[in-house]
């Protein structure tokens, strides 16, 4: 047990030193890289390591007779969470989400320190000591709080109320709700039931399973499947259409959406927000193909009223592409990202 706790303590110290180094820019922030694609699990794992580390550290300090009071353990852990979220995760997490995570962590700390009566007493003790002010130090602290707290509250209020020249906060919805149907080149498509006509098997029949099986799984670092290379000129059916879609994509779309379809094209950073990242699991992977068909056809102009401003500069591609070309480019987008469109089968 002691060995395990010592190991935990070691991890805790190393982790804290690393984080401290990153905060003060002594250690490069990419020393332990956060790998795109694995980042969410990596973060949770790191977090678990830190918790184990803190448990070990607390145990060791207690064994050495230098136990950290429960009050400071709680405050310290909460401060760690806030600093971790601010300095460890890159790209930076918006303040609104950090605030949510921070509040939940505070609740967690409260639940931890007050789970049993004994722990709660230990946690409250320093607060009660200051309120009681039996010693000179505590009396001094009490007076200090009496002065500092109103100043802090006042400062906070001033900061909130002070007019700022920053751009206002936006609540921009990621997926606008599509209409029930859309009219493209004179034909009406019901978005709930329409299908991509190029999702066909080698016999030319609509076959979702066949096309799914040919998707090149390269999202999250997966490798291209053998015998599924759309750039092969001999291909027929689905893979041929993927290639044609790819050609259309590289002639029209990649300037903004990027070679890797990750929204970081040549012109992408001229826009705010930058174009959609199709490799993110929250975009085309969540949607039906007909949704993409509607979005590509109508562009930013065709977005519904209820969520304005959408701030999308995508042109209505129906003015430049045929219906067939739009379907093919969608086919390519799913193939390239390794995602499957949502269906209701």
């Amino acid at each position: 047990m002691k060995a395990l706790m010592s190991l935990g303590a070691l991890i805790g110290v190393a982790g804290l030193l690393l984080l401290g180094g990153m905060i003060f820019d002594v250690i490069p922030s990419n020393t332990v890289r956060l790998v795109e694609g694995y980042m969410p699990m990596q973060m949770l794992f790191e977090f678990a390591c830190f918790v184990a580390g803190f448990a070990g550290l607390s145990y060791m300090m207690s064994a050495m007779g230098m136990a950290l009071p429960r009050f400071w353990q709680g405050i310290g852990f909460w401060a760690f969470v806030l600093l971790y979220l601010k300095f460890r995760v890159y790209p930076p997490i918006p303040f609104s989400v950090r605030a949510m995570y921070g509040t939940v962590s505070l609740v967690a700390v409260f639940m931890w320190v007050s789970a049993s009566e004994e722990d709660w007493k230990k946690f409250k003790q320093p607060i009660m000591n200051v309120l009681d002010a039996q010693t000179g130090m505590n009396r001094l602290l009490r007076y200090a709080y009496l002065v500092i707290l109103p100043i802090l509250i006042g400062g906070f209020s001033y900061n909130v109320m002070m007019p700022k020249s920053e751009e206002p906060i936006e609540l921009r919805t990621v997926h606008p709700a599509p209409p029930a149907s859309t009219k493209v080149h004179g034909k009406t498509y019901t978005l709930q039931t329409s299908q991509n006509p190029y999702r066909v098997n080698q016999e030319g029949k609509y076959d979702q399973e066949y096309t799914n099986a040919n998707i090149v799984e390269q999202g999250m670092g997966r490798l291209m499947k053998p015998n599924a290379n759309p750039w092969d000129d001999k291909n027929q059916g689905y893979l041929k259409y993927v290639r044609e879609g790819g050609e259309i994509f590289f002639q029209n779309c990649h300037f903004c959406h990027g070679d890797n379809l990750n929204g970081r094209g040549l012109h992408a950073f001229a826009f705010n927000p930058i174009p959609a990242n199709f490799t993110d699991p929250g975009t085309i992977a969540q949607l039906q193909e007909t949704f993409i068909f509607w979005r590509v056809s109508k562009g930013g102009i065709g977005l519904p009223n209820e969520g304005f401003p959408w701030a999308s500069v995508m042109p209505p591609w129906e003015q430049h592409l045929t219906v067939d070309e739009i379907w093919k480019v969608i086919l390519f987008e799913y193939w390239h990202t390794g995602y499957y469109p949502r269906t209701w089968d």
Partner: protein, 638 residues
């Protein structure tokens, strides 16, 4: 013996007669839908010879003879949208919400009474049986006052509809005409049963008559549930209309109108939701009484009452998220745009708030259970592991509340390099969230099991093996849930939705198998000491109040979300809302309105409780029999 049998036969006959009389109006009313289906066709045929206009059902795609008038095309003006000098939508929102709160309460509490009365009847401990019976009686007493308020609020709601939205209400009434009187008659049946059930309590407290009394509560609850199903058909029709053609003309099949795409998911969701809500309200009542109790005896009683109400509420809370998933899945399947508006679009942020509320419910429950271990000797062995449960719960919670649509300044958006974040993007979608909520629920199950064995040590010979098996089972459950959440990113979205099934199965396996195993293991277990009812921290009682507040807040929020998803439609894609309020409120306004409704409900229910306490003061002293603190608690009370 003969006399007893005769009494039983007489009792059964009396019950059957009573039920028959109560249901008579409904039976009489039943032929009318059939007439509604056939007669107009016959009339039409007579009038126009062979010229019968047919329409196509918008949902079932079946052909039917047009019976009703098309949905009115309203215009903003005093004819279709008369108004006071106030936003009509806010008034109807308020009336609807309050009616729903009380409706839910009076539907849930009789189900509680049924369960508690049943527990009292089957328990062998006479003192405990008496306490259960008294508890059930206390509940129904509260319910009686609330029932009157529900009816009053129902009246206010109808008047509000008639006054502010006459065109819409007229149309809806014309569609539901064949069942509207059944709905009204159900109220009569419900009231009659409730009064007989309440006033017959003392007369039917012994022997076989008690069973008759208990079966009356079943009748009462069946009627209540049917009543709710009918009310649900209205909102189901507004969201996913069926039984009408594209112009909104009724096609003569009332079953199509009732049984819309979302009716069944709504029914299930509401039953579970009402029960959890009812439990929360009663638990908060008990918590309030506990905090204001002057004697140890009262504290013990209300501690026990709070625990029972919480346990019942949470029993229905656990399956609630799964019912919610089913409802959302059906919404998506019905209309993609509705699903996206709800969960990825305009209303997505309200779902984040909802997830936060669900998390609060589970956190409060766990916290209460951990606190409740404080009144058991021997539970210390589990208390030191609570921090690990906190870690699991919080990780699940953090993932569960991660927004997909983030609030951020343009500068933050730029720093992030687009709307998508490599961490939040993954946490913000369903695959991870499914994992998050299942981790939360599994941890709650684990807390419950720890609580159940808090003051006990298993004496079965295979106790060690049993404990290891349970530990491994839970570890495997966590691994399976988390693994499936990650695996969800590697498969198509429609299959991913299906992954929630094995996740739920894992969670439910923990619930059922581990509960069963624990019960077997704890049979004849060595007790470290009795449960010291009343000796629980005050923090636990605030957790109960938090639980109840979160329930009421969440109900109002979900009602608003469900209603708002129709956007500018009274009846989705059939009847447009042309009033000046056919827009979606800001999140802030909605939150304020919800908070107001919650506050109003809690103030008014305090009045109901006060009325209950007035009656209690006149109750015979006998009602106080059986002091919880002095009675050893059998395992059944866990």
């Amino acid at each position: 013996m003969g006399l007893l049998t005769g009494k039983r036969v007489f009792s059964i006959m009396a019950l059957c007669m009573m039920v028959g009389l109560l249901l008579l109006p409904i039976v009489i009313a039943l032929p009318s839908p059939a007439i509604g289906e056939e007669a107009p066709a016959g009339d039409a045929a007579k009038k126009d010879g062979d010229k019968v206009e047919k329409g196509r059902d918008v949902y079932y795609k079946t052909e039917g003879i047009v019976v009703g008038a098309p949905a009115p095309k309203t215009t903003d003006g005093p004819k279709d949208y008369p108004r006071y000098n106030f936003e009509s939508r806010v008034l109807i929102w308020f009336a609807n919400q309050q009616h729903l709160y009380y409706g839910s309460f009076v539907l849930a509490v009789p189900i509680f009474c049924m369960i508690i009365e049943f527990m009292g009847v089957v328990t062998k401990d006479k003192a405990l049986a008496k306490r259960y019976d008294q508890l059930a009686y206390d509940f129904i007493k509260i319910s009686l006052t609330a029932y009157s308020l529900t009816a009053i609020l129902g009246g206010i709601l109808i008047f509000t509809f008639l006054t502010l939205y006459p065109a819409f209400f007229g149309y809806l009434s014309s569609i539901f005409r064949p069942v509207m009187h059944i709905y009204a008659l159900m109220f009569v049946a419900e009231s009659g049963t409730l009064y007989i059930y309440y006033y017959g309590w003392d007369k039917m407290k012994e022997g076989f008559l008690k069973w008759i009394h208990l079966s009356m509560s079943v009748v009462l609850n069946v009627i209540g549930t049917l009543l709710m199903f009918l009310a649900n058909s209205w909102i189901g029709f507004m969201m996913s209309p069926a039984g009408v053609d594209e112009q909104g003309r009724y096609l003569g099949n009332i079953w199509h109108v009732i049984h819309t795409a979302l009716w069944n998911p709504l029914n299930l969701h509401r039953i579970l939701g009402n029960m959890a809500f009812g439990g929360g309200v009663v638990a908060a009542y008990a918590a309030y009484k506990f905090l204001s109790a002057k004697t140890e005896e009262d504290r013990a009683h209300y501690d026990w009452m709070g625990y029972i109400a919480m346990a019942l509420g949470v029993a229905f809370l656990i399956p609630l998220p799964f019912a919610g998933y089913w409802l959302m899945r059906e919404v998506y399947a019905y209309r993609q745009q509705m699903g996206i508006t709800l969960m990825g679009g305009l209303l997505a942020w309200l779902f984040i708030i909802q997830a936060t509320m669900i998390g609060i419910l589970f956190l409060s429950t766990n916290y209460y259970l951990w606190q409740a271990m404080g009144r058991m000797r021997g539970a210390e062995k589990y208390q030191r592991y609570i921090k690990y449960l906190v870690f699991l719960l919080i990780c699940g919670f953090l993932v569960f509340i991660t927004p997909h649509t983030m609030v951020m300044s343009p500068a933050e958006l730029k720093a992030m390099g687009g709307q998508q974040h490599p961490v939040l993007g993954n946490f913000g979608v369903m695959s991870a969230k499914n994992g998050g909520i299942n981790v939360i629920i599994t941890t709650t199950v684990l807390s419950f099991i720890w609580y159940m064995r808090g003051n006990k040590v298993s004496t079965v010979s295979w106790a060690k093996f049993g404990n290891i098996f349970m530990g491994v089972f839970f570890a495997c459950a966590y691994i399976n849930i988390i693994w499936l959440a990650i695996y969800g990113y590697y498969i198509p979205a429609n299959v991913r939705v299906g992954l929630s099934v094995p996740q739920v199965a894992t969670t439910l396996s923990c619930l059922f198998f581990m509960f069963a195993l624990n019960t077997v293991m704890m049979k004849g277990a060595k007790q470290m000491g009795p449960i010291e009812w009343g000796k629980i921290s005050v923090r636990s009682q605030y957790a109960l109040i938090m639980l109840a507040t979160a329930f009421t807040w969440m109900m109002a929020l979900m009602g608003y979300i469900r209603s708002s998803v129709r956007l500018f439609w009274h009846v989705n894609e059939i009847m447009r809302d042309n009033s000046p309020w056919a827009y979606t409120h800001t999140v802030g306004f909605a939150a304020n309105m919800i908070s107001f409704n919650v506050l109003f409900f809690w103030i008014s229910i305090l009045f109901v409780f006060w009325m209950g306490s007035l009656a209690a003061k006149k109750a015979p002293v006998e009602a106080k029999a059986g002091i919880p603190g002095s009675v050893p608690q059998p395992a059944a009370s866990h």
